[in-house]
Amino acid sequence: MEFRRWRKIGRIALAMLAVVSAGFLGGSEGGDGVLLPDASGQWSIPGGIYAGRAPTAPGMVEIRGVRALSFDPAHIQTLRPDLFMEGYFSVFDVLVYLAERGDIQLAYVWDRAAATHRILSLNGLSGWWYDARYAGGEYERPVVRMDHFPVKDGMSIRLYLEQPDRLTAIHQSFRNEVKRRAANGGVVIIPEVTIRGPRWTLVAHDVIVAPTGTRSDVFRPGVVTALDVLLALGRDGVLTSVKLVWHDRLEDSDHVDSFMVHALRGGGHEALATDGCMFAHQTGSDVLEGFIVPHGHGSSHIHLSADLEPLVSPEHVRWTWLCR
């Protein structure tokens, strides 16, 4: 017991040291970071040490064919308290707030089969989907559940009528995720995880992902994020080390408040941080491939950082080494 207690204290001390080092080395733009596994061989970052800023500034939602509407985070409560901690909420919560305020007429339903809230109609029209970007980013046509996408200060949200075939594919992919998770007894198992390094590719199959609570400031305990997939690869021995760097901001982008993957090693390969290069992730499903989506991707988008994307059970997760 005594040994365990000292080990825990040791781990917290190491994490604290990493935070302090990050501060000394210019932590706001990404400093020294956290190297995993830690000294005790753990593939997790203790929650509560790194924390982002909850949304506080007024934001805008542009609803095509309606108008741009403002919202004040102070008045918004989340419909997903199972996901979000106090003070945090999703894009969908903003819409519900606008409807409650009487700015729009919104009919929605909890779609149990897709594990998400779904818009039935907005001002009498059906077929809505959204597009979002964080400050400094670009609109990316995400395939992330609307009630999963965390709102940050400086974020832009647009609602538009999606093409029926793409919207059908999006909902189909969500239903497939729920079925997959149920078939796996509630455990998140990713059929294919691909890491595309600078000149190499690493593929892992049927990766069992457990929640690590890295973003316990935003998400409730037990929520699995895309970053947990990478940590699961470390726990499984596919990766030998990963360097995560906390960014309050990233060049023009602020607030970022996320971990970015700056380096990793595994399978005899390595990708080490160089100026302007880091790993970005995508999650998704094969049914979403084949749509031409300007500024977007067949699956989820890359600017929503991995530690802020809650997962149900996607068909694939891909990490790609990107350079400016």
Binding site: G65, D131, Y139, R158, Y160, Q163, P164, I292, P294
Partner: protein, 371 residues
Amino acid sequence: MWIVFANAKKRKARLVMTVAGIAIGVATLFALLASSAGIQRGLEREIGGLGAHILLLPVGCPYTLTLALMQGTDTLTYIPQNRLTDVRAVSNVRLAAPVVVGRVRVNDEMTPLYGATDEILHLKRWGIPRLDGAVVGSDAASRLGLSVGSRITLSFYAQREMDVIRVLPQTGGRDDTFVFVPLEIAQSVLALADEVSAVLVQTENVDRVTQTRQTLGRLAHLQAVPPSEVFDMLVGLFGSMASTLMLITGVAIVVGVLTTMNTMTMAVYERRTEIGLLRAVGATRGDVFRLFVAESLWVSLVAGVLGVGVGYAVTQLLPRTTGFGLSAAPHFSPSYIGICLLVAAGVGSVAAVYPAWMAARMEPIQALRAL
């Protein structure tokens, strides 16, 4: 020649296998030539069909935006319409035609919609003086059961009705799938207030396109892209794929050469007596050499003809559109048949040289010992 045919008749199974080996390589080559040419011509037609010297697009990836424009996919990023005044003021700009694209319900069927001003009539030869109704592409017309005078209902964000004033003849390109309507109608149905998807620019002096593009590119909220650049990029993309396939074809052809060479070498050993007899009755080394080369050439040409036929059949099974939804119908040219038959003949000649040389070197007495 009768010796060649008699020998082929005697060893039918071997003949079939040799022919099949070469035919596979030739069929792959033919299919590759026809489909590559089809993709290139499809792209030329689509990008040429835009009719612009310069494309003005919203900020973003120019290639996806151009593809979306050709496909009729809503880009969700737009150019403010008031930029048109600045665009038209740039020297050397003869015509700036704003367009809006997006898929909407036309009589309840999702259909690509193309909104344009009358300026589009300078870029597309439709034979109408004004775009004051719906002009329908041939495929869209047959799918929706439309003809001139039909009433159509456009709906998405808003609903509008209008008459079909023209059904376009088949072009084989994406225009066949569009419904073209006046710009303000498309903007209303797609809920775009004072925004456009792209501007098609024609210049007075084509030699000054580069300078004009640079000037236009400096305007805020847009980027100027020459269609030729998009074409080169897309052709390059398909070209790198075609290079890989060409490499595979090359391997198939080399395998064909080796198979034929092996068959001919075996034939030389098996036919030592025949060679000895031929030499004994006065056939020269040259005669024996020519006999084996002729045999190999004949087999290769049969395989070549068969390969062209199989290649043609394979191209009929290939998808008619690329992954980007653009037309990729194979294009056939008599020159491809010539190339394939030449390659087949080349395979036959190269494969025959060594066995024919071996046969020609054989001494008559040595060959007759096998009796």
